[in-house]
């Protein structure tokens, strides 16, 4: 049985570094991510980590090559539907100008989930990231670490089998980092979710991931197991 959940073939995509506007090509000949895999993507700034994650999350279209999600080839007519199977926690958090509860509920509202179910799922996600008392607060009332946990809860609440996390713990305090790492570990080990995350931290790679993919200037250096 084929248990590949994400597959990239002959991908080529031009991306711009955030810091110096240099343009690079991300080139991936072949990459497969298996069900239940915890893959860490490492590389220096501008190596193409976020771009690779956004290609997997169908947030940008490569100029060449094919992307497969759960064995389905991504095309213009199924892109929106398949995107719902690969939610992405983006590198920078943007909370919408509403309450924390509504921020977390948003992805479910996009999917037209019934109101009763939204309430129970959002409350569960709030409890996982330890933000239940903050449910009715406005987005601007939280600290940076709490905002990042809301961001994670927004992805968790969708209950998809695949999660793509772009530097989920960068710049966070110890408490928020520990909570997020615990959640990720539990999802992967107990619920067999596939998790792909980018990081700069070698310690985090040792603790969390089963596989490591190293990128340099848009190219895969190695894929360690």
């Amino acid at each position: 049985m084929n248990n590949t959940v994400i597959r990239l073939d002959n991908i080529s995509y031009s991306y711009t570094e955030d810091y110096n506007s240099n343009v690079h090509d991300l080139v991936i000949d072949h990459l497969e991510i298996k069900k239940g895999e915890m893959l860490a993507i490492m590389g220096s700034n501008g190596a193409g980590k976020s771009t690779l994650l956004e290609i997997m999350g169908l947030l940008c279209s490569p100029k060449k090559g094919d992307v497969y999600i759960n064995q389905l080839r991504v095309e213009a007519n199924n892109r929106s539907d398949l995107r719902r199977q690969v939610p992405v926690l983006l590198q920078s958090t943007y909370l919408f100008s509403t309450t924390i509860f509504e921020n977390i509920a948003l992805g479910l509202r996009f999917r037209k989930v019934p109101e009763m179910e939204i309430h129970s799922r959002v409350n569960r996600a709030l409890s996982i990231v330890e933000l239940t008392p903050h449910a009715n607060k406005q987005y601007f009332e939280l600290s940076g670490g709490e905002k990042r946990r809301v961001d994670l809860a927004r992805v968790l609440v969708l209950e998809t089998d695949i999660l793509l996390l772009d530097e989920p713990t960068t710049g966070l305090d110890d408490k928020s980092r520990a909570i997020i790492e615990d959640v990720i570990t539990e999802l992967n080990q107990k619920k067999c979710h596939t998790i792909v995350f980018t990081t700069h931290s070698h310690d985090q790679v040792k603790t969390l991931s089963s596989n490591v993919l190293r990128l340099h200037n848009g190219y895969i250096l190695n894929n360690e197991q």
Partner: protein
Amino acid sequence: MENFNLAFLNALHLLVSLDSEILQYAWRSVYIALISTTLVIVVTLPMGILIAENNFRFKRAIIIVLNTLMSLPTVLIGLVVYSFIGRMGIFGSFKLLFTIPGIIIGEVILIFPLVLSLVIAALSRDNTQITKTAKALGASQLQTFLILIKESRYAILSSIIAAFGRVIGEVGIATIIGGNAEKYTRTLTTSIVLNINMGYFDYALAIGIVLLTLSLIVNLFMQLLQGSKR
């Protein structure tokens, strides 16, 4: 100073006594401003999103042209529209000259560049971050469009206030196209001009105060809508 005191007393009297003539002018002014602003917002919102969301060759040129058009003199717009909808104009058969719809056409042309410019500026601010976050959570194209408008609502409201204020205080287009016909097209501003010409300075000032009061009420209402913003 005496004029001002008299004007304030007259204004108070006009407001308290609900003078039917003034009420009629005021209603006409508000009606023209509301319809023009609504029409422009309906057109400029999707246009603004398209321009703000996409990078294309003439984007900068479009923004420069819009900014230039913001300083178009109202009398010039009045004259141009007059030449199109006047009896000899190409749209003369529609009989729009000296009518409220005729004034609205002129006002729409006046505020279109202003609102489109403000909407583009509002949507350009954080739009990449907003659209990317919405899509990352599974939003469709339409849901992304709606969330973008929702997130930019305060800036969009500000452009509505600016457009409404521009139209309600406008006199050139209302005079040239409307013709200041007492029972049909006279507005608060054209009435002010008429009273000045007739030498009723205090009465003109009083109507000016009524106009300011109306603007204040509209702005208070908009402020209430923005109330939840920190």
